[in-house]
Every structure is written in structure tokens, then in C-alpha cells.
């Protein structure tokens, strides 16, 4: 068990380290187009080959990792925070609050997001630098991704609210806010963690979809989302296995994180 944890740790360290050292490991850069060698297989010069317009895939994977590993967890954090704020609090307070919060959540879920995002895009200036696009993407993902987590949290918090230990704590004279913070929140933790980790891969993929609406990470900056989008049209799996590196990396990283976390949970329990 411990070995597994160490392995997960090492994997993450390597991935994060490599992405931070991207400039040194892949001096080709993520934007330079080697047009003479477009869509090339792996070679000494391009370890993972080049993409359809000749950009070094290895460099793009490293830089993409940097962006996605920053963006997705940050957005997941934001959305989880919002979920606690809306769902957890509403469930804990119960009554009218819960009903209002769930109505808001339902409304939020039923909104035609596609059109709202199109409106958001329409309101934004066209000339947005790639870095600003990363920030915008983060905010959008975070602001939109909280709903399902909120519903789960609301239900969980509602059961906690009527639990014996909360009753006992109230009988000890503990104040409402403190009660939520100290007694309810720690019990929501497993749900929070689950929501957080579920959100990360979802956000990585959603980022690619936002790109369709002109809201994702802008060219030429890479992200895991845009790298995964390359796989969309791939007809055969076997012929070009190196193209699957971004996907494998995503799976490995998410698994490692989860592994690491579940172990911590166990220890805590």
C-alpha cells in the first residue's frame, strides 16, 4: 500500500517537474511549426512526433500539462467551494434555504448553457491574449461546474443536520456557523473530495469543448483538452500509439492523485 502511494507520489513529481522544466526539456517550444515534418512519427528530434501542423508534440504535452494541471484543479477548487457554499449550507440550514438553493441549482442546470456561453463569448473582446483565455476558461469552468456537486452536498448535509451528533453539538450550545464549520463540513469531506476529483478530468475535457465556442485556451497555447481533441478523428488506434500520450498522461495523473488521496483518507479515518 505504501509502495503504491510512493509510486503515485513519484509519478506526480515527475509529471509536475517535467512540465515545469518544459522550456529545458523541449526547447522546440509549443508553437514553433516544423512544417517540413508535419504529422511526423517519433524521432530523436521530436520524441513524440509532431502534430498536424508540425509542432513538437512532446513540447505541447509538457506545456499542456502545465496549463491543465494548473487550470483544472484550480477550477475544481472554485466549483467545489461554490458547491459547499450553495449546496452544503442549504442542506445544513434546511427548510426554505434548501428549497431555494435547490431551485437555484435546478434553474442553473436547466439554463441553456450553450447559448449563455455564446453570449459570454459575444460580450468578450475578440482580441484576448492566450494567457487571459486561460483565466477566463478557469472562471467559466469553476462557475459552471458546481451544480451537480451542490445537489449531492445538499442531500448529505441535510442528513447530517438531523444526525445525533449535530443534535448533541447543538445541545452543547455551539453556534450555527461554528457547528457547520466544525461539525458538518468535516463530514462532507469525503463527498467534497470525490466531487473535486471527479471534476478535474471533466474540466479538462470541458475545456476542449469550450474551445468550440471560442472560449477555451487560445491557440497556440496547448492544453490537455486541445491535445485530446486531436484524438477525436483518429480512425485506427493501433497505427499511431504515440498520439495517445496525452490521454494516458491524463489517466495516470488523475489515478495517481486519487490514489494518493484515498490513502490519506484511510489514514485520517
Amino acid at each position: 500500500m505504501k509502495a503504491g502511494r510512493t509510486l503515485a507520489c513519484v509519478v506526480l513529481l515527475i509529471v509536475v517537474g517535467a512540465s515545469l522544466a518544459a522550456g529545458w526539456l523541449a526547447p522546440a517550444g509549443y508553437a514553433k511549426q516544423y512544417r517540413e515534418a508535419a504529422d511526423a512519427p517519433p524521432s530523436a528530434q521530436h520524441w513524440l512526433g509532431t502534430d498536424e501542423i508540425g509542432r513538437d508534440r512532446f513540447a505541447r504535452v509538457l506545456y499542456g500539462t502545465r496549463i491543465s494541471l494548473l487550470l483544472a484543479p484550480a477550477a475544481a477548487l472554485l466549483s467545489t467551494f461554490l458547491a459547499v457554499l450553495v449546496g452544503g449550507l442549504a442542506g445544513y440550514l434546511g427548510g426554505v434555504w434548501a428549497r431555494v438553493a435547490m431551485a437555484v441549482t435546478d434553474l442553473f442546470l436547466s439554463l441553456p448553457w450553450l447559448f449563455l456561453l455564446i453570449t459570454v463569448r459575444a460580450l468578450m473582446p475578440l482580441n484576448v491574449s492566450p494567457l487571459v483565455s486561460v483565466l477566463v476558461t478557469f472562471l467559466i469552468l469553476g462557475a459552471l461546474g458546481w451544480t451537480s456537486a451542490a445537489r449531492v452536498l445538499c442531500a448529505t448535509a441535510a442528513t447530517l443536520r438531523s444526525s445525533d451528533f449535530v443534535c448533541q453539538a447543538r445541545a452543547s450550545g455551539i453556534r450555527g456557523g461554528r457547528l457547520f464549520w466544525i461539525h458538518v463540513l468535516p463530514n462532507l469531506k469525503p463527498v467534497l473530495y470525490a466531487q473535486f476529483w471527479i471534476s478535474i478530468p471533466v474540466f479538462i475535457l470541458s475545456e476542449a469543448n469550450l474551445g468550440i465556442l471560442g472560449l477555451g485556451v487560445a491557440e497556440p497555447l496547448p492544453s490537455w483538452g486541445s491535445l485530446l481533441r486531436e484524438l477525436e478523428g483518429l480512425v485506427s488506434v493501433g497505427e499511431e500509439p504515440w498520439k495517445f500520450v496525452p490521454l494516458i498522461l491524463l489517466v495516470v495523473v488523475v489515478t495517481s492523485f486519487q490514489f494518493l488521496l484515498s490513502k490519506q483518507e484511510e489514514v485520517a479515518a
Partner: protein, 578 residues
Amino acid sequence: MMRRRNSSFAPSGLARPNSSTHSLRCGLHSFAASRLGHGVRRTIFQYFLPLMFCFTFLGQVWAQGGGELRFCLRAEPKTFDPLKVEDDASVSIRYLTGGVLVRMNRQTQALEPELAQSWKVSKDGKSISFKLRTGISFSDGTPFSAEDVAYTVQQLMDPALHSPTGDAFRSGPSKVETKIISPSQIAITFPAPVAGLDRLFDQVAILSARSSKKEMAVLGPFMVADYKPGTTVLLKRNPNYWKTDAQGRKLPYLDSISLDIQPNRDVEMLRFKRGEVDLINALDSEYFDKLAATSPQLVHDAGASLDSEQMWFNEVAKAPLPAYKKNWFRSATFRRAVSQAINREDLSRVVFRGHAQPAVGPFSPANKFWFNSKLKPTVYSPQASLKSLQAEGFRLENGTLKDREGNDVVFSIITNSGNKYRERMAVLIQEDLQKVGIHVNVVTLDFPSLIERMTQTFDYEAILLGLTNVGLDPNEEMNVWLSSSENHQWNPQQKTPETAWEAEIDRLMRAQASGADAKKRKESFDRVQEIVVEQAPFIFLVNKNALSAVSSSVQGASPVILHPQTFWNAERLTVTAK
């Protein structure tokens, strides 16, 4: 009306069939409509092959014959009534079932006799007379005569029917006259001259005036035998088809054609590989290469098609852009400099893997008659580009181009999302322009948003789009080139032409439209092409090649660039059993 042709090409243009395809297509319709104006020229048919041509197939077809040809329609056919045809699937069916008076040979692009043995257009371009073949009957046995032609034309021009095909003929408000001179002779007179009148009849499938089966009685090589909505359309050989081959054998050779309705291109490709379909039209260049890698004999690259990919700057005076940017975009020097700084060879080679040709001007060289062969291709030269920019007052500082007032030259190019080719072109252009210090932001938008910016709000700087150009005649593009038109994309609906060159284009386009003399019309349009290249309101990037795939069990196929690519000579194709 234009929509159908564009919708058909939309999937190839828009790449992946995904959830947003539908809306994107709709968007494309409207744009397509705008560009191509009117007239349905894509399906230019050709059953009447010259004798010499027949011989090339002879060896193969003589021995075999029969069989069933199978291929996919990419959408449900909306109608079987040839006059109401609008969508691509219906056009394909009309091509295979409808009998026409004249047909444009899809290979030579020349007009050839079909149900009409000969025809004559009057000097003023208002009327046309046909001498018809005799002894021909419809698929249900009803005899064919001038009466049917008159009936068809009257139906076609009936305002109540709203025939999309008929729109191309509508030149004036008063009625069309049809005069039956004899059962085999007819004269049709329009209220005003119609440019390229004879060619328009390529799309007019003749209806029977008397048959009880209405539009299901046909004169073409095949007839609709069965239709299962959402699944298949089955065409059977028309037993009464009049044409024979050089040996006197009745055409068509095929017994039937099975058209599967299949919008998903991946599935189409898979079924082709399994041998379940025989033809693929408008093949994607990536698929083409994948297929070519394993079976090069199955794929056909017919060379540059009529389709063009292009970008343009927003030149609208009231556009919500800073004044200095409008100054750049309204400067021909700036536009030409951008054009020069774009490496078109690389676009063709890298983005389309060689299955595209650097574009020269508004018309593709594939348009044999109308293309102006004297146009000089834009030579890629960042140095020359920079030089002309500097002459205009721009200067390069630390790798960033600045205008006279010191503003950084930064603009965005928007393109429709989901089309990876356009996205890649934009990224290549982004890098190309960086070499002259211009910073480009690439933005992909869903099609409706893009169209809204392009036609309503004018809130854009540059747009990169591909335009499906299916007609051959420049007359179809009247409302793209006329400055007053709402489809004059770079600066639509001008009350009076804002520039001298646009005024000149207006004059030349009107001149070509009113003349019946093809040579004079060509002179006018050649000049239009020169002005467009000179002023670069549209920066033409590439002409995509017409790619297709034909199974080895099909004999006699000779894919061409014009629709319907692989099955333009369906009546002479045969399929051997596998």
C-alpha cells in the same frame, strides 16, 4: 435556394459530424445563400456522351453489366419533386432520375444535347428554342413531347411553387411564354435576358404533363423504386430510358442503385472499407491519405475543385472597431501585404497534405472557361510584404509591427469551430504573420455566432471561411460582387460604391449579366478577377482538391471535380459481384 449545394459540401468543409453540425450547417446555408446568390448550377448533368468517350469504357462494360451500385446520401432527401429540389441528397437523386434537355458534361464542362437534339439562344438572350428527340417515353410509358417541356417550364416559373431551380430564370416580373411549334419543337421566351440561359436547363428535369404518376414518371436512367425514410432510397433501372451505348446496348448498365442515408462520415468510411458501399464523394483529405496508404488504387484526387478557402478583413465603415484598425483594413496595401505574407504553399501542403492548390483568385483554375489564366499567383514573400508595409508608414519595432500612430498591429481571425482545417490554416497564418510583426489571435466561434458577427453586428476584424462554389457561371455570384448587395461580405449594402474599384466591379458585373455573348461576358469577368486580386478584399488562400474513393468492384468510374464527382456517369457504370 442555394442552400442545398452548400449544405452538401458543408460536412466536408465543417469536418466532424458532431452535435453542433446541424447548427453549423444552418449557418453555412445562409452564408452560402448569400454568396452564390441564385441559380442551381451544381448539378450539371451529362448523359449524352460523345461516341469517342464511350469507347474508353467499352471493354469493361461489354462483358459485364447489371449489378447494384451502393453509396451513402449524407442526409435525408427532402423531396423527389425535381422542381422543388434544394438539398444535396435530392439533387443527387434528381441527377440520377431526371431527364434534361441539355447536360453539361461534368468532365469537359461543355454543354451537350440530351432530350434536345439541338437548341438555339436568341441574340438578345431572352429566348431559347429546342428541337426535341422523338420516340421517347417516360418511365411509366407516357410519351414525351414538347407539351411536357412547356408544362415543366410553366410549373418551374409558377410563383406559387417557389421552385428554387426556377429562381435562376427569373429575370423580370412578367410571365414566361412557351410556344409549342410542333410536338418536337418548342420556343421559350423570358421577359428579360437571362445570362447563360442554355446552361440553366441542365438542372431542369422534365416532368410529364399527362402522367398520372406525376413527378415519379421520369426520363432519366433510373427511377425511385423504394424509399424507406431514414434508411435507404432504392433506385431501379428505367426500362424506358432512351439512350443506348455505341454498341446499341440499352443504358443504364446497372440494375439498381441503393442509396443509404448516413450522415456520419466515419461510418461511411467504415462501410466503404468493409465493401458495403462503393463510392465516397467529397472525401476528407485525412481519410484520403489513410485509405491511400493501404489501397492507393481506390482513391482519386481529381485536382483543384471549385471550392475556395479565403479570409477577409472587415471594411465596414460603421463597424465597432477602433478607427486606426479600420484604416489598416480599408487599405489595399495592408491587405495585399498580409496576402503576400501568407505562405499558401504551406497551407496546401501542411494543412491539406497536398490535396489543395494555392488559390490564385476568385475563381478556381478548375473552372475551365471562366478562370482568368492571365492572373499571376501571389508570391509568398515576407520581405516584400514588410517593404510595402513600411512604405505605408508601418514600422517594425522589437519584432512587433506598429502603425504610423504607434499602435501595435494586432488583429483576430475568427473561423468556425469544428473545422480543423480552417483552425490549422489560421494557426499557420498566425505564425506566418508573426514574421512581419503582426500578432494574430485565433478565435473559433460556433457558426451562428460567426454569421451574426459577419452579417449583423460587424464586430470582427478578419474572418477565415471556406466557400463552396458549385456553379461555374459568374452570374451566380452577382450578389457577392455588387457593392449594394447584403452579401458583399467585406463591406455589404453600400448605398453607393465607397471605392472606385468597387464601382468598377459593379459596372463589369452588370455588363456581364446583360450580355448573351459569352466572349464579352468573359472579358468583363476577367477584369473583375484582376481587380479582386489587386485590391484583395478577399484574400484567397487555397482551392481544395476534389477527393473521392471508388471501390474496385465498380467499373467505368472516372471521378471529376464537379458534383456528382464519382457517379456523374452512373448510367455507364457497372458493378461486379464480390
